[in-house]
């Protein structure tokens, strides 16, 4: 589905990514792990096309999307859930969804219904402004918004960050449903969530891919987890 080869990204004068390699197989959940500041967010944002000065290759369904502007990347069918959700605070939940809709046809509205069944909280908050939502509701809206169009690939940046455990639980349940129809690249520091959802993992450290494999490998290897994540 997605292939990243030798990705280098500079932000201002800093050489942030120094060779990220990563592959997301079709119908999988692939998790990116790594300490704070390792370059996980930068990797996802590079895929989205936010850094036109990047170098390396990014293939989506076999076609190069490297250096395409973000709106073109999104239009190819890549949904993006940013680290801080980026809900439009002055817009209602309904309007947030509407901004994302490429077409307002039956198929899209059906998808929206499906998403609202998945996140009943959003249906309840339908007319409420984005700025007045709870952290969990914002996260749900950000995910729903990214999925309202036909979306073969979803990029999600730390969906559990700052959420109450009950909300983490809800988001995780929803992701379990979403994965049935959508390939997911997930950045997640919460190891419970990462290990429950993930089929494969990539470990990024100091802007490089340093380790990869099936998630089971990481579950079994306490030493590795300690070394790169500082958790047992």
């Amino acid at each position: 589905m997605l292939k990243i080869k030798d990705l280098h990204t500079h932000i201002e004068q800093f050489h942030i990514l120094q060779g990220v390699n990563l592959e997301v197989p079709d119908n999988s959940v692939t998790v990116v792990l790594g300490r704070n500041g390792a370059g996980k967010t930068t990797t996802i944002r590079s895929v989205m096309g936010f850094y036109p000065n990047m170098s390396g290759e990014i293939l989506f369904q076999g076609k190069s999307i490297a250096k395409l502007p973000p709106y073109t990347v999104a239009k190819q069918g890549i949904g993006y859930v940013p680290e801080d959700q980026d809900i439009f605070a002055g817009l209602t939940v309904e309007e947030n969804m509407r901004v994302a809709m490429r077409r307002e046809d039956d198929t899209t509205l059906e998808r929206q219904e499906w998403l609202l069944d998945l996140f009943p909280d959003l249906r309840e908050a339908w007319k409420r402004k984005g700025g007045h939502l709870s952290g969990g509701q914002k996260q749900m809206l950000s995910i729903a918004r990214a999925l309202v169009n036909e979306t073969p690939l979803l990029l999600v940046d730390e969906p559990s960050k700052g959420l109450a455990p009950i909300m983490v639980e809800k988001v995780m349940e929803a992701m379990n449903v979403i994965r049935e129809t959508t390939t997911i690249l997930l950045v997640e520091q919460n190891f419970i969530m990462a290990s429950q959802l993930g089929d494969y993992f990539y470990m990024i450290d100091e802007g490089r891919t340093v380790f990869q494999g099936e998630m089971q490998l990481l579950k079994d290897d306490e030493v590795l987890r300690k070394k790169y994540l500082g958790i047992a």
Partner: protein, 295 residues
């Protein structure tokens, strides 16, 4: 009492005209953070172009005077569309994200447009009169209401309602509001924000040109300096109202219009100073302006 009613009425008319100038400026600033110093010059060019057409086809004295006035207005709107497109496409688009360059390049556009006006129409003012059906006044109690001012208030209010309705209900309106908050996220949802911005720029310039055209008969003349004078006031209005907020611009424009009317009566030289004071006071209490979202 009637003095105050008259001043309020006059202030309302001035304010709503200023609103036409400020609305586009506010959206352009709010959506793409572009400092458009050429806005006033575009307002002036619209005024000249519309007035020129108005006069060319017979002006206010012809039997078609009333119709001529609206033909002039349409000409002003059309030149606004063309100018808006050209200025965005060939100058502003090159300098997104760089305020210093924006100031330099839009100031350049301002100077060029101002010189063009002098080349085409000379440095002197051109006299222009309302069409017949808007001449004169009527009395409500003892308050004199001139038809032209009533027309300005009604017309601009209609534009305001239309604009608010579009922002609230249409897809492009929702996208513009989202873009004012976070244009990067709008792009990440598959929308080419540049296209949206070009549209907003064209639309804002069109409103300014219509406003400039209507300003002519209001003052009885158009002149090459009119853009500059009003530009500063428009920026004040944008700051008071909040970047990117159309409703905020409307409230602020009326506020400034009222202060203009009162100062013109009591102490004309202090007019700008009072507007500055209003701005300072509002920004002190609410730095994002009356209805600005802030970032």
């Amino acid at each position: 009492m009637e003095l105050h009613l008259t001043l309020i009425f006059n202030g309302l008319a001035t304010g709503m005209l200023i609103f036409l100038l400020a609305a586009g400026l506010s959206l352009i600033f709010g959506l793409m953070s572009v400092l458009n110093f050429a806005h006033g010059a575009l307002f002036m060019f619209g005024a000249y172009m519309g007035t020129w057409v108005y006069i060319l086809i017979g002006g206010w004295n012809s039997p078609w005077g009333n119709l001529n006035f609206f033909v002039g207005m349409i000409a002003a709107a059309l030149i606004g569309v063309v100018l808006g497109y050209l200025v965005e496409r060939f100058t502003v688009r090159q300098v997104y994200g760089n305020h210093l360059r924006q100031i330099l390049i839009t100031t350049g556009v301002m100077l060029v447009v101002a010189e063009l006006v002098k080349v085409f129409w000379g440095p002197n003012l051109i006299r222009v009169v309302q069409p017949e059906f808007l001449q004169g006044h009527f009395l409500v109690g003892d308050v004199r209401l001139t038809y032209y001012r009533v027309f300005i208030i009604l017309f601009s209010t209609m534009i305001l309602i239309l604009l608010l309705f579009m922002l609230k209900k249409s897809k492009i309106g929702v996208v513009v509001r989202a873009g004012v908050e976070n244009s990067q996220m709008v792009q990440a949802l598959g929308i080419n924000i540049r296209k949206v911005f070009t549209l907003v720029f064209i639309f804002g310039t069109m409103l300014a040109c219509i406003g400039g055209y209507m300003w002519g008969p209001f003052q009885g003349q158009v002149n090459p300096g009119m853009g500059l004078d009003l530009m500063l006031i428009a920026f004040i209005v944008v700051a008071i109202g909040g970047l990117g907020s159309v409703a905020g611009s409307a409230i602020a424009a009326v506020l400034v219009g009222l202060s203009e009317a009162y100062m013109a009566y009591y102490f004309p030289p202090g007019s700008l100073a009072v507007n500055m004071l209003i701005m300072a006071a509002v920004l002190l209490i609410k730095p994002t302006g009356l209805l600005g979202a802030g970032r």
